[in-house]
Amino acid sequence: MATTSNITVRPPRVYPRGTCHSPEMIADLSRAAWEFRIQVLRMIYNYKTGHLGGAFSIAEVLTALFFHHLRLDPERPDWPERDRLIFSKGHACAMLYPCRAYRGFFPPEELMTFRALDSRLQGHPERQKLPGIEVPAGPLGHGVAIGAGMAHAARMDGRRHRVYVVLGDGELNSGPIWEGALVAAKYQLDQLVAIVDYNGVQQTGTTTHVMPTEPITDKWRAFNWHVLDIHEHNMAEVLDALDQADEVHGRPTVIIGRGTKGKGVSFMEGDSYWHGAPPTPEQFAAALQELRKGAEQWER
């Protein structure tokens, strides 16, 4: 049962930014997000190491970015006009890798080498190994300030590409996030968009227990950011929020994506145990079944 071979992920089509959000497109992207979860489960089960919870919760956001919103060219990962993605919550890279692979940046066959010796798929993303990884990530707290630097440089050069930073909600504990937030607001960096995976759980418990960060929208507003508050597992809301952020002028935007850590597997949801633990064979089988059901609901 617990096989890790024969990968069955069907990637979605690529819908360039501006494509109208048809029900077909939403269904295709939603289904793919669930299938990427299956891929991630297999990757982490393979060597019994990796971070499931925060990978599952960011599935819809990354699928929307890679297969719709980001302007990218897999043939030219260093294309100067490309949109930048700073994946600041680097521990959840098990979801970043399938999105990049199926978008054409490297062969999906490599995905099952995740965390093996000699793999290009390091435990946390390494810039020099994989095409298109903008910066290394893992130590939390860097994304907003680096994104501010990139957005500022883009504006100096008269370039219109945009900079997206994906953050964890626990990551918001980290001081440098707020230092970067001040800088981005001071320079009115409207090419910068931060997306917070607001899944309510960090490594050692719920955010309420470990480090309360509410009221979160008020905090970002007080830092002079434009705030969008959405459900991160609702593809239509994700797509709309990304579009809305494009229309904001004179300030950076943060999208608070409310959702669930471990999304898609009932016994993983909301439980910090699944931050960094690998599943047993029984848990793997049960999880696979639930994720398949999740994908099936979007089959048309």
Partner: protein, 322 residues
């Protein structure tokens, strides 16, 4: 008195569990001891202390700079804080706090660096700590201690808590090999321990690689090469007298550590030899580069710390002695 080193090593035992158990035990010895962690208490195993002494445990969230400064505040207010997070984060993210307030300000904070060396092997280079010893060893007033096996963790943690100033206490994430006899191992901070005697050369080592060094020495003995093995668990203040004595008596030294060959144990020993008694020195460790993701033992072998790396370093040192 019997030997310090066990004839047959014990079954591998989790270093972080040994540390967690030791923390709990110390909680009773030191009523003013408090423990802090930065949302990694299930990694560093300070959760074991939290379970017994919830009112003396603080989780500051993912905020390593605050972790150190909160501990500093407590230290200046009569508490004995043990701050826990990943080794590389003390040496990098929270370094300014460590330097200004623990080192310069002499706040009596114990910094327990989890996941030292390459031991967070699967998380990869971002989480490994190839440079922490060099960075922290350069700070005045801060002692640097690297325990090896479970007995060493327990006994050196106690000494660390008794030490009158701040200490960086570097730990391993994984299972380690018990090498010491509980009753015969009696470490003192600042004093190296001769584990095996020999006349041809001296291996000076620390941390989990002590086991590999003993094995290497035993293998060399079968080839007629007799090396002394010294556990230099304290890198700062380093045991200068013992280092000089080993140089005089054996004429060649080899340092072995889970760290870049720059500035750690190899650096400390090189400084002593250069100033007081130059002899050939070979340094075993990571060769000034970042490692990668993979199984722990495989990384130690690939990045220059295999048993063969140790024995060939000894042979090179002997060659240079001639």
């Amino acid at each position: 008195m019997g030997t310090i080193v066990r004839e047959t090593f014990g079954e591998p035992f989790s270093a972080r569990k040994a540390y967690g158990q030791a923390l709990v035990e110390m909680g009773e010895h030191f009523p003013n001891m408090v423990v802090l962690s930065a949302d990694v208490s299930n990694s560093d195993h300070s959760f074991m202390f939290e379970a017994v002494y919830p009112e003396r445990f603080f989780n500051v969230g993912i905020a390593e700079q605050a972790l150190v400064d909160v501990a500093v505040g407590m230290a200046h207010s009569g508490k004995l804080p043990v701050a826990n997070t990943f080794a590389f984060l003390f040496a990098t993210r929270a370094l300014e706090q460590v330097r200004t307030h623990c080192a310069y300000g002499e706040a009596n904070v114990k910094l327990a660096g989890a996941y030292g060396g390459l031991s967070d092997s699967f998380d990869g280079p971002t989480h490994q700590s190839e440079s922490d010893l060099a960075i922290l060893r350069s700070l005045p007033n801060l002692a640097v201690v690297v325990p090896s096996d479970p007995v060493s963790i327990r006994k050196l943690l106690k000494k660390t808590l008794e030490w009158p100033g701040p200490v960086y206490f570097r730990l391993c994430r994984n299972e380690v090999i018990p090498v010491f006899h509980e009753n015969n191992y009696d470490p003192e901070i600042g004093k190296g321990i001769v584990l095996m005697d020999g006349k041809d050369a001296t291996i000076v080592c620390c941390g989990v690689l002590v086991a590999r060094c003993i094995e290497a020495a035993r293998q060399l003995a079968r080839d007629g090469i007799f090396v002394r093995v010294v556990e230099m668990h304290t890198l700062k203040p380093v045991d200068e007298e013992l280092t000089v004595r080993c140089a005089r008596e054996t004429g060649a030294l080899v340092t072995v550590e889970e760290h870049t060959v720059i500035g750690g144990l190899g650096g400390a020993v090189a400084e002593v030899l250069a100033a007081r008694h130059p002899v050939p020195l070979e340094r075993v460790g990571v060769a000034d580069r970042f490692a990668e993701t993979g199984p722990y033992d495989a990384l130690l072998d690939r990045y220059g710390m295999s048993r063969a790396d140790i024995t060939s370093a000894v042979r090179r040192a002997l060659e240079r002695k001639k």
